[in-house]
Symmetry: C2
Subunit: 373 residues, 2 copies
């Protein structure tokens, strides 16, 4: 019998008001044939996790009595890495020690253990398995890489590959939020695919340093938001693009407002702008003439929705990202790690609250717990 803990909420609201830690039992002695018991290795705090708790996110986990609460409650967290502890007699795809991630959102990853079935999980290679391949070019995934592989890297990869045919060595994409996690993945993946990129970053004192860092990651051109709105800079970029005999076919917008105007103006005729975030908290803004005379199209990107009914695409995408990680071609976004210690007095949910309140970078709660304790 495993004593597990999970972070739950019964009503929507601010996390510090509604989250609580709940203990529940997993009977791992009497497993159903297709059952899979896992323990958590790490799970991050994503902005959408917080919005789910607040009740302002369109995709929500159903409230359930499955955790043994008196009132229906919903689990938190959508991304995370588990290790398989034990499987039912019919389970062939997984064995103890395997690394798995949830196959869908809303599974609940802010918890110590979970009992699921085969269809709840997707397998990733764990470091021992990678080592067994005896490929000197490959090293194993890190816990951070595996625990944060479901949202940001696929967002960047799919926006660059799923909509517009960008010709390697010629075509360009432009993005704002160049220093965001997705922005950095997009610059790197663009480079890996041979695609030129223009990254727009917030005006800042250390602009030159930021420019250098992003170029080292793979960005072709890095400009500030002020430069994003400058005609001279746009003319410069136009001539750089012309030199490559390519076109700016895609814009990735996670800011909105004037920033979205600036990147939309850099698109060539018939270009596509995908909006996947709204960091300015202002609406997306596009000059009328771009629609009428340049035939620009604007659409949205939501990785959850795209992959929900497309498990094959998810599998292919994850396999590509795993390969890039294993061969050291892709760097993951750094995470701030908060270690869960079962023996300490701090309850599980308050670790996640610490993660929610720390706005510096991506917060990852890591677990180092035994089995059956």
């Amino acid at each position: 019998m495993i004593t597990a803990q999970a972070v739950l909420y019964q009503q929507h609201g601010e996390p510090q008001e509604v989250l609580f830690t709940h203990s529940f039992k997993i009977d791992d002695e009497n497993l159903k044939p297709d059952a899979v018991v896992v323990k958590t290795l790490a799970s991050p705090v994503n902005p959408s996790d917080i919005n789910q708790i607040q009740g302002v996110y369109p995709s929500k986990p159903p409230k359930t009595l499955d955790f043994g609460t008196e009132e229906p409650a919903a689990p938190c967290g959508n991304e995370g890495l588990f290790e398989v502890l034990k499987v039912g007699e019919n389970v062939k795809d997984f064995q103890p020690g395997d690394w798995v991630i949830p196959s869908n959102v809303n599974f609940g990853t802010w918890r110590t253990h979970a009992l699921g079935t085969v269809s709840n999980f997707i397998k990733l290679p764990n470091p021992a398995q990678t080592q067994q391949q005896n490929d000197p070019a490959k090293k194993g995934l890190t816990v951070s890489q595996a625990a944060t592989i479901s949202v940001n890297p696929p967002t960047a990869y799919l926006m660059l590959t799923h909509y517009v045919k960008l010709r390697s060595g010629k075509d360009w994409f432009v993005q704002n939020g160049g220093t965001s996690a997705v922005g950095k993945y997009a610059s790197q993946i663009g480079k890996l695919l041979g695609i030129n990129s223009i990254s727009v970053v917030r005006d800042r004192d250390d602009l030159d340093e930021t420019r250098e860092k992003l170029k080292q990651l793979g960005a072709t051109i890095v400009i500030s938001e002020k430069e994003n709105l400058s005609r001279e800079v746009s003319a410069d970029i136009k001539s750089r693009v012309k030199e490559t005999q390519g076109e700016v076919k895609l814009a990735l917008n996670c800011v909105g407002s004037k920033s979205s105007q600036g990147i939309a103006k850099k698109l060539n005729h018939n270009g596509l702008m995908l909006t996947y975030g709204g960091m300015s908290m202002q609406p997306v803004s596009i000059p009328t003439s771009l629609f009428i005379f340049k035939n620009i199209i604007c659409a949205g990107f939501w990785v959850t929705e795209l992959l929900k009914n497309n498990p094959e695409l998810k599998k292919k995408t994850l396999a590509q990202i795993v390969e890039w990680y294993e061969t050291g071609k892709l760097s993951d976004a750094p995470t701030n790690k908060i270690q869960f210690n079962e023996d300490a007095k701090e309850e599980l949910h308050s670790l996640y609250l610490r993660g929610i309140n720390d706005k510096n970078g991506k917060q990852l709660i890591t677990y180092n717990i035994g089995v059956n304790e």
Copy 2:
């Protein structure tokens, strides 16, 4: 030999600065085999005509020496109705007395006569030809209808039919600029196609009267811009839409700014917003969440570009509009007529300047000139 006049410009600028009237000869005694000589019956002033003269419109007529000017000059006007005077020996499609309109933009319609070839013109039925059909349900086109048939009615018709499948008796479109010429055509054509519509109009004192007029034309619901941004009104509309078991699949935007936000919010999931104008002179504005969570798509509509390489679509579209006009099912936008009188002292270009300066409704310059005078 015909002595003709045309309104031309040699440099771009404000119309009162750059337009001039130029006389030229058309030798109608020695026609080439495929030549077509026409006289003008009427041509309107469209906003895009003015933008072309100013040099701020992406589609422009080339400057040419064809009119016999010393310096290259470009003709004005894109829409207009001509009557065929004489044709070359190989011309089978047209005969004297036929009504024709330019088959493409940039032909130049602010002039008394033109010499072209068969490919320059599309034939419309003149009133005598309609009468010969002996169909009591049909009356002939008016000069106003025929002279203004190329831009606004096709814009409304094609936006409603060329992109999204709107199910008759169920689906809806929403538009701002409900009292504009295109807006009124869209309400009427929507009704003719069995499509429900929501028309947004500027806040005004005579709102109830405007509401009534537009409903009589065919609009299902008419709301003010203030109501466009009200949650209560949106909820009301949602329940009206639900009653029809349809969806709001299409939004037509000619305003931008907050008005575009309001109509975009009325779209159902996967809805399309087409932008065809920007009367607020502000960018199109769309809430981020509509892109990400409702999968709204935004694109532009430019009738010139759509029909440029699609003569069959143009023909079919015009045939439908002609039929609705002839059977009295569609009302044209009223025009203010300014009559050209060759014997009067006022030069041709100053009539068009009067039209440009009169901002009340659509201005139509009409001609009543003899042949060979």
